[in-house]
Amino acid sequence: MGLANSLDAYLILAGVLFAIGTFGFLARRNAISMLMSIELMLNAVNLAIVAFGSFIPGLKADGSIIALMVIAVAAAEATVGLAIIIAIYRNRKTPLVDEYDAMRR
């Protein structure tokens, strides 16, 4: 079968993980759950990048380096995102996003 040696298998795995993250982002009410779903989607993209870097001969180390950059930027995103959520929680006393309606009223 050679699943571990086919690029398609890794890309499909990454695609399914991305779809799961999309569902979580659209369906969860808790802001931190949405942030966790974003992390899942970032990880799926990272898996696709690493798989490309490992299977396409033209970009040998580039895939891994881009993946490392993405991990660093994801860390920055998580820091700022959680700080924003905590700041909003301090004002509104709830982590549920559908109760953040200050701009709708």
Partner: protein, 195 residues
């Protein structure tokens, strides 16, 4: 009684993860890499599903750690051990702890949310399934000009390229992290006098 139930649940979860891998191992001619790939992929997808569906958000955070760990294993299988190490250090070591602390800070005793999902959960599920099918079809239909054997990347070579060709992006990422940390502290800081 509860301990036995937990044990039973763990056994069922282990069976769910290992059965496809054993099937692939037996049917696919005994390739250990294939079995590892299937086991880690199943573990990752199952725990990712638990992350987006479970009710208790702290358990979602713990399932997310399992998903990250399985993904690190997949990085090792695909041949990028340094990325796997970075995954373990950054995601499991830093981001997961950050998220768990944020969960503990924002769960009020008054109301752990009775409703986990929005009303739009069912359309979101349909959209996610359609997205997965589309990606699968697109991936299968495309010829990627990929080699048939994955290349294992030596860490020494990666370090040379990172610090020669990519040294400017490396430094920029450092500055970005510093700015993000300062900004995060500034945003989350408690303001002494409002207004």
């Amino acid at each position: 009684m509860r301990g036995w139930l937990n044990l039973l649940g763990a056994a069922i979860a282990g069976a769910v993860v290992t059965t496809p891998a054993l099937l692939v191992f037996v049917l696919g001619g005994g390739s250990v890499d294939d079995a590892l790939f299937v086991a880690l992929g199943t573990l990752m997808l199952v725990s990712a599903l638990l992350v987006v569906t479970m009710r208790d958000i702290i358990r979602c955070g713990l399932a997310m750690i399992v998903a990250f760990l399985a993904l690190a294993g997949i990085y090792v299988v695909v041949g990028a051990p340094l990325v796997a190490a970075a995954q373990v250090i950054v995601y499991i070591g830093a981001i997961s702890v950050l998220i768990l602390f944020a969960i503990m800070l924002t769960q009020s005793k008054a109301g752990p949310a009775r409703l986990v999902f929005h009303a739009q959960a069912a359309p979101a599920a349909v959209a996610a399934v359609i997205l997965a099918v589309l990606i699968t079809l697109g991936v299968s239909a495309t010829d990627w000009a990929a080699v048939a054997e994955r290349t294992r990347l030596a860490t020494a070579e990666l370090a040379r390229i990172l610090f020669q060709d990519y040294v400017l992006p490396f430094e920029v990422v450092g500055v970005l992290l510093l700015a993000a940390v300062i900004g995060g502290v500034f945003i989350a800081k408690r303001e002494e006098d409002p207004g």
